[in-house]
Amino acid sequence: MRKALRVCCLLLAGLLLILTVSAAMAEEPVYGGILRWREINDPPKLDPAIATDTVSSRNIYLMFDMLVDNDPDGKGIIPRLAESWEGSDGGKVWTFHLRKGVHFHKENLGQPTENGGREVKAADWKYSMERLVKVNSPRAYFIDMVKGYQDFVDGKTADWVGIKAVDDYTLRFELDYPFAPFLSVLAYNSFMVVPREDAEKWGKDFNFHPVGTGAFILERWDHDQKTVYKRNPDYWKRDAQGRQLPYLDGVEIFVIPDNTIAYEEFKKGNIDAFPDFPDEFYLEAKVRFGDLLQERPWLGTYYYGFNTSKPPFKDNKTLRQAMNYAVDRKRINDLVLEGRYYPGRGVLPPGMPGYNPDLKGYEYNPELAKKMMADAGYPDGIEVELNVNNNPRHKAVAEAIQAQLAELGIKLNVKVLDWGVHLDLCERAETEMFRMGWVVDYADPDNFLYVLLHSSNFGAKGNYAYYKNEKADELMAAARVETDFDKRVELYREAERIIVDDAPWIFLFHYTTSLLGQERVKNLRLPAFGDYTTPLEAVWIAK
């Protein structure tokens, strides 16, 4: 009897062993499961036309598709809803051949949609692009070189003449001038296709009833708690074996403002994916989770902008330069940020085409800074207000910089504000100094230099410092229409040199992006474009 029991036990153990080993070896994707993703705040917007921040984009990527996408390793542009494309007429005409069998969501928030799940045609793309202008998208100007933009904005034409639906599956853009980054720009998350029926039914409230073509369908939006998505059974994409994607039954994006709580929840297994991993737990998590904590350089720049439209920073380049010399970027990175960032020298992050490795920038030099403060007219120092959005990392950096500037007699009054209020004050130039970060929308220097520092982009469009230099303006504008890559790079480098010398910002750091995932979550791969663009349609959860 006892022997029989023992044999049974052994057999059972053996069976279990075989099962687990085979499961581990095969790594066959399995369907089902909900992925729980953590975000730090509620998405401000879910309408791709009006969203500009990464939390909104995280949500939007689940529900919508662009024509083209960024390669996950940052190596150019890959197809998404356009299967192929060609440029002609010296880069002034772009023709896209659309994927067939792509359907809009059949339902939304548990209700059937107006479009009823019909197929996406070229006319929908034309409509979606025109809609950007109609709803005043802050990013519509990214493609203002498409012929007829200004006339359409001014209401002189009924449609945007530069965008043409040649037939149901061919879409053509005509540009005023050959714009080199055009393809990269179309991979940005405002240029997504939306169904006319639903967009017109809801109008402004489309933001609360977003309908797209993406792998997931919005099921519920509990503000400040979570957004709940369920699987889109009619999604166009299939895996290499021809199986329907996505594997997951759904995604829940939880709003957990506090990092400590989020990390505890992760350790308990209540959260599956933890993007933008906080510094305070970084060293511990690296030991504890090893490769599950993914990290890679990110095309982004962290800076403190000066409001150059108002005193004391208006027309005082020496003061701005002095403050640049007064900050020890390297040691702040090492001691406060656990060495996770790269000390910055200029506007463009490393890895960006046109990045200038020989740029001098501002080395930490307190003596020089002190001397320049006197030259700037502030030998006894100055009192300035710095606005920072409420995030532990930004507060930590601000406290360090505050102490370093204090050595020069600069009294930095740090004001911690909610993101919405902060952004609003920056846009309206109602600050003295402000913290800001910019991460890539499209991998081209244009996205940093032109957007953030050209004088036609004051305020919400990106130039929060209200910086204007005519020479730099000219160079950046010239680079937009130049087609020769080397010449463009030269123009951008010259513009960047001027800007760095003018010091409209304290150039601080370049980002890395990170993502911590549970072991059972498979196929979770951090792309070069940042944690918030992580694709989830091919992610699956091991049982």
């Binding site: 990092n259 400590t260 990390y263 505890e264 906080p278 305070e280 737990f281 511990e284 020890d328 040691r331 001691l335 406060v336 409420n390 532990p392 507060k395 930590a396 601000a398 406290e399 360090a400 505050q402 102490a403 370093q404 204090a406 009054n413 740090v414 004001k415 911690v416 504000l417 209020v421």
Partner: protein, 297 residues
């Protein structure tokens, strides 16, 4: 004691008896001693603190002083920037007391006149002021303060005491009103009125001094809760801004490291808050027992 030998005038003896009652109450005495230590700590912070509370030592001494555990050099350890926590806790007492005192002053300035007017006048005036008091009482205290602070959109210390004062005055006003109702028909008031004195004079010179005891008790008890509120606001990022050594702010920064075994950044300021709030609560309770003649045993 010289007072015992003197012929007792009635006022002095009442006060003296109150002091005797207070002294017999052990908790009250403990509260007094604790409160005095906090006040002394705040006043002499600059000579007691071993380091400059704002000095970030990591830039000169490196990683060794970053989040260093309590030791002989840094009795309460250091924070992320190598600032000495003991020094910051001592200077934090200044912030807390400053908020406690200023917010109380604001509450008194609003609460005493309004409470007095309501109690003295009665009728419609009383109904109206009582209605405001009840409306404010109906809101959760902390949320109301938070809302007031948020309206200003400009987090700073002065906004915090005005905000707390704007909410906290109702407690004072209610006490003052009750006192005035019981005093307004006493003979000495009628005498004053018969002499034709103006109303403000009757209220402030004749009645108020007789109504002060419960106000003092209420204000003392209020100090504790105001200090808690300030810490809560600072914890949430309102009120005191970095690098102010506010206890609430320190807890908010330090709590991230609690789970990593670096407890000292959050725990010591937490203990300081507990100590101070307890001090004022004991003191307030003791004062109430001592000053309330009806409780005389």
């Amino acid at each position: 004691m010289t007072a015992e030998k003197k012929p007792k005038t009635s006022g002095a003896s009442l006060r003296y008896e109150a002091w005797l009652r207070f002294r017999r109450n052990r908790l009250a005495m403990a509260g007094l001693v604790m409160a005095v230590t906090v006040i002394l700590g705040a006043i002499f912070a600059s000579s007691l603190a071993p380091y400059d509370p704002f000095k970030q030592l990591i830039w000169t001494e490196g990683r060794a002083v970053r989040l260093a555990a309590p030791s002989a050099e840094h009795i309460m350890g250091t924070d992320l920037y190598g600032r000495d926590i003991l020094s910051r806790v001592l200077f934090g007492a200044r912030i807390s007391l400053q908020i406690g005192i200023f917010a109380t002053v604001v509450s008194l300035f609003i609460g005493v006149p309004l409470g007095a007017l309501a109690g003295y006048r009665g009728g419609f005036t009383d109904d109206f002021i009582s209605w405001i008091i009840n409306v404010i009482f109906a809101f959760p205290f902390f949320l109301f303060v938070l809302a007031v602070v948020a309206v200003f959109q400009n987090p700073s210390m002065s906004v915090v005491y005005v905000a707390i004062g704007l909410v906290n005055w109702v407690a004072i006003a209610r006490v003052v009103r009750a006192q005035f109702i019981s005093l307004r028909d006493r003979e000495f008031v009628e005498a004053a009125r018969a002499l034709g004195l103006p109303t403000w004079r009757i209220i402030f010179i004749h009645i108020l001094p007789n109504a002060l005891a419960p106000v003092i008790v209420q204000a003392t008890l209020g100090m504790g809760s105001i200090i808690m509120i300030e810490a809560g606001l600072a914890f949430l990022g309102f009120g005191a801004q970095p690098p102010t050594p506010s206890w609430g702010l320190m807890i908010s920064e330090g709590q991230k490291y609690l789970g990593l075994g670096k407890w000292w950044w959050a725990i010591f300021p937490g203990m300081a808050i507990t100590y101070t709030v307890l001090a004022f609560n004991f003191l307030g309770d003791g004062l109430r027992d001592a000053l309330d003649v009806r409780l005389k045993r």
